[in-house]
Amino acid sequence: MRVMSEEAKISRRKFIAGTVAATIAGIVVGAGGTYAAFAGARAPEKTVTTTVTKTVTTTVTAASPTITPTGAIPSGPIKLGVITIFTGPGAMLFDPGFKALEIEVEKINAQGGILGRKIELVVKDSGGKPDVCVDHFKRLVTEEKVDYITVGATSAEACAIAPVVEESNVLTIIQEGTATKLFEEVDTSPKYVFRIANYDALDAISHAIAIHQAWPDAKKFAVIGADYVWGHDEWNIITTVLKKLVPDMEIVAEAWPPLFSTDYSAHISKVLAAKPDVVELCLWGGDLVTCIKQGTGYGLFKQCRVSSVTGGEYVWGVGMECPDGILCSTRYYFLYPPWDRWHINKEFNEEFHRRYPDVHGGYPGFNCNSAYTVIHALKLAIEKAYTMTGRWPETEEIIATMENLMIPTPGGYRYFRKEDHQMLGYAISGFTKVSAEYGFAILDPVWAVPPEEMAPPPGKKWKEWVESW
């Protein structure tokens, strides 16, 4: 509000200078006053000031047609539909994200909501199943009549839901659902769909860059990867990038355990037999923890260098027994940007830790950062759009604002790209180092790969782009 009142002072000077403007402003003040009377509960001075400021600025400086504020801010709460995963193995990924979303919504509501409207969550569980996710979406739109929707979804769900969203005209922000093909193939010119998290290709490209930065001499690579589309895709991208960076690299062994395996012994034996320089663990969650644990027993970390495209927060599960020096990458890392230099991250982490010391190792993961970003991006976009329209913005107006929106998140500044509605932020890489303070391995040193280095330009597929290097 402080910024707003300074702007108001400037505007008032302009206000006195132009009689035409003054007349219009007079009308506007009147309108504002009427609106304030309508709104009732809202403080009248505040509303009038804001309205005058914006309208006069528009009239005087841009001489464009005046936007007459209708003052129509609906009185009811904003209904935000949330489809996420609370059951099945995917719950482990999305449950902490939902907790972070709740924390932020509570915080925003306690501060008066968005333009005075409280946010009300209408929550559905998809169980990670695409058909259920689509059903919930339709029901949220037709029966619950929600205003906006956010989806904490798997890749398959995101790809299934995107075409339905485009037909429904409901602004839908996908938190993860990081299939590369979502905006490369499934929904090439999205209108109502936005996605927050860095997608799979960005994870893999940034990770491959980090591997090369960390170990420029490495030539022989091996993988233990989860045997489903994500594992194979990530490895394909990582090796494509590495081939560009290390032309004489070779893949010496591949082992593909199924998802949720509890035994990696034979896979570890196999890659060890090939004597690679670097072993990539293309696994996540409990799978990665299990593989690291078992790898320790086989001397994997003594015999070769090990990297993991998702490692950042999953290594917490290995506790103090995690070997030092595993190169891990992630979309958001709880200690980066450092808390003393980025207060949003500090507050975000401290609040989560205070409320959920036992969830997800006690600190927010990349899903939590995405959930935070969803609700704050929506808030920022609505408020920005409001300053232009002077009334509650239509979905299309919010979308126009959201395209190119830059927003501070716990993980640093992130921005939506207009062309493909993909949010970009930097990717984090670092080496594991056990920390007695946290009781698990943190990343130290840790560094960031900026989006410009890892994101294909809009409209370009990752493969064409990487091959053009």
Partner: protein, 292 residues
């Protein structure tokens, strides 16, 4: 050479875990004639119970008790479920038991999720503290060897019980002919409950043994169930010896398959099963199917 020994050990280790789950499944089928689709859920329950117990006991000399204790707790849950639900459908058509046990598997895994949360439960120290020994110049985890030894021991005990004790003879009698057993005064209902206790406890101990080197997590039940189905189909449904040989075959073929044909790791077990079904439909040690 060193690789071959490693692969054999890896295969034995995987086979050991599999043997414990599959022998429980096949015991329940052999005795009570129930194809227990909830068997994987008992395995998962064993993992979670063990994780909790180990967390409570870690650092004390009693930590090893966590494993048998987890097995007993799962076994008692097994009895409770048998007495509460399964008991009522022994005489009914197979469809009922498939629907009931599948329903129970969903309920159990949801109960696990609600009770223990969605995140994997890890235990530290045990696996690392077991250390590694030198196998021809390369480290090999001692924990794996312990599990192999333990599975061997449990296998021997099961064999002794089934072939040398009165309880074993009664169990086998019930498995062969329920009506006749009742005719000679055996309380078959109790025998079935006992079979459920032993069967689910075996699933429980297997799940418990997985925890130190992996984690208790949602989703491990499905894989355990499918793999043990493959094992008992290969070995012969209802045959304890079949479960042992089937597990060893799957364990070893998997280990060498991963090394030689990584692309078809998932398919290898099914391929072996398909071959066995073609050549010997009743499984390696199975009886001819009785007309249902």
């Amino acid at each position: 050479m060193i690789e071959v020994i490693r692969f054999i050990l890896d295969g034995l280790f995987y086979g050991s875990i599999l043997y414990l789950v599959a022998s429980g499944l096949t015991l329940i089928f052999g005795v009570a004639n129930i194809l227990n689709l909830a068997h994987g859920a008992f395995y998962m329950l064993g993992a979670y119970v063990a994780a909790i117990l180990i967390k409570l006991m870690i650092g004390t000399p009693y930590t090893v008790i966590a494993f048998p204790l987890a097995a007993v707790i799962v076994g008692l849950t097994g009895i409770a479920i048998e007495r509460g639900f399964i008991k009522w459908i022994y005489e009914k058509d197979y469809t009922y038991q498939l629907l009931l046990t599948f329903g129970l598997s969903l309920v159990l895994s949801d109960a696990v999720r609600i009770t223990f949360g969605t995140e994997p439960m890890y235990v530290t120290k045990l696996y690392a503290h077991a250390g590694a020994i030198d196998v021809l110049g390369n480290p090999y985890p001692v924990y794996n060897l312990i599990v192999i030894g333990l599975a061997f021991l449990i296998g021997c005990l099961l064999w002794l019980m089934m072939s040398k004790t009165r309880v074993g003879k009664v169990i086998r009698a019930c498995a062969l002919d329920r009506e006749m057993s009742e005719g000679i005064g055996i309380n078959t209902s109790r025998v079935f409950a006992l079979a459920f206790f032993i069967g689910t406890a075996l699933a429980g101990i297997s799940g418990a043994l997985v925890v130190p080197q992996s984690a208790a997590m949602l989703g491990i039940d499905a894989d355990a169930l499918i793999q043990s189905f493959i094992v008992i189909v290969i070995g012969g449904v209802g045959s304890m010896k079949g479960a042992l040989i089937g597990s060893l075959i799957i364990g070893l073929i998997r280990a060498f398959g991963i090394a030689l044909f990584p692309e078809i790791e998932l398919a290898i077990a099914y391929l072996v099963m398909a071959i066995v079904l073609l050549v010997r439909p009743q499984g390696l040690f199975g009886r001819e199917y009785r007309a249902a």
